[in-house]
């Protein structure tokens, strides 16, 4: 399993499409930095095919004031959870 991270908002960059194209069926995606905007209900359907394999970094959500606004179907993890995701993955690929 590969953990992918994405730090670009799907509202401003189309790199999320390359991310999704590159992901295998068991891979996971963690939204970080401006990428956390992808957890907003208006943008989260773009990641609909990832059901259960989409994560968002809590610290970056909070620093942007979005903690009450995220799609509840997305797993929220803090930095400890981020490290755990890297432990569970064979490798990590960063998209930016």
């Amino acid at each position: 399993m590969i953990l992918h991270t994405l730090n670009r908002s799907p509202a401003t960059s189309r790199v999320y499409q390359q991310t999704l194209d590159a992901m295998a069926s068991e891979d996971r995606l963690l939204l970080i930095e401006d990428g956390v905007q992808g957890a907003l209900p208006s943008l989260s359907p773009l990641f609909g095919e990832l059901s259960g394999r989409l994560y968002v970094l809590q610290e970056d959500v909070i620093s942007r004031g979005l903690e009450e606004r995220c799609d509840p179907s997305i797993h929220v993890v803090n930095v400890d959870g981020f490290v755990l995701l890297t432990e569970e993955a064979d490798k990590i690929v960063s998209w930016f």
């Binding site: 930095e33 610290e59 930095v79 490290v83 890297t86 432990e87 490798k91 990590i92 960063s94 930016f96």
Partner: protein, 130 residues
């Protein structure tokens, strides 16, 4: 596990350095070792010896140094990226006839081969980019 980080973002320009440092503290808190950080592209500015941020802001260069003290983390700076941007140690400055230097230990100038090596010899390599 032994972790290596690749940092490609310039400090104070984007979030990459902050994200990488936060992840560093997180992995250490979970009992892992941060063995190596490789600074590449604009990431080499993280090693700027003369960085003087305001006292009420995080001092990113000192935070990297602190990781070296705590964990003997190797702080590797890509020499090709560094020379282009004026990030040079005393030896390189002198070799090119420059007075003064902008990089000092525990940061060290190295080649890209060290990055490849980090990918092969560490359990995990995580990239933080601009």
């Amino acid at each position: 596990m032994r972790y290596a980080l690749l940092v490609q973002g310039s400090p104070y320009s984007n979030q990459a350095s902050h994200s990488a440092l936060r992840f560093s503290h997180g992995l250490i808190a979970r009992g892992h070792q941060l063995a190596t950080v490789f600074f590449y592209h604009d990431g080499v500015y993280n090693a700027a010896r003369l960085a003087l941020p305001p006292q009420d802001e995080p001092h990113l260069v000192d935070e990297w140094r602190e990781l070296h003290v705590r964990q003997s983390t190797e702080l590797l700076v890509c020499i090709a990226s560094g020379l282009r941007r004026g990030i040079v140690d005393e030896q390189e400055a002198s070799r090119h006839g420059k007075t003064g230097h902008s990089l000092e230990a525990p940061f060290e100038l190295t080649g890209l081969g060290q990055l490849i090596d980090a990918g092969l010899t560490h359990d995990r390599l995580v990239t933080f980019a601009p």
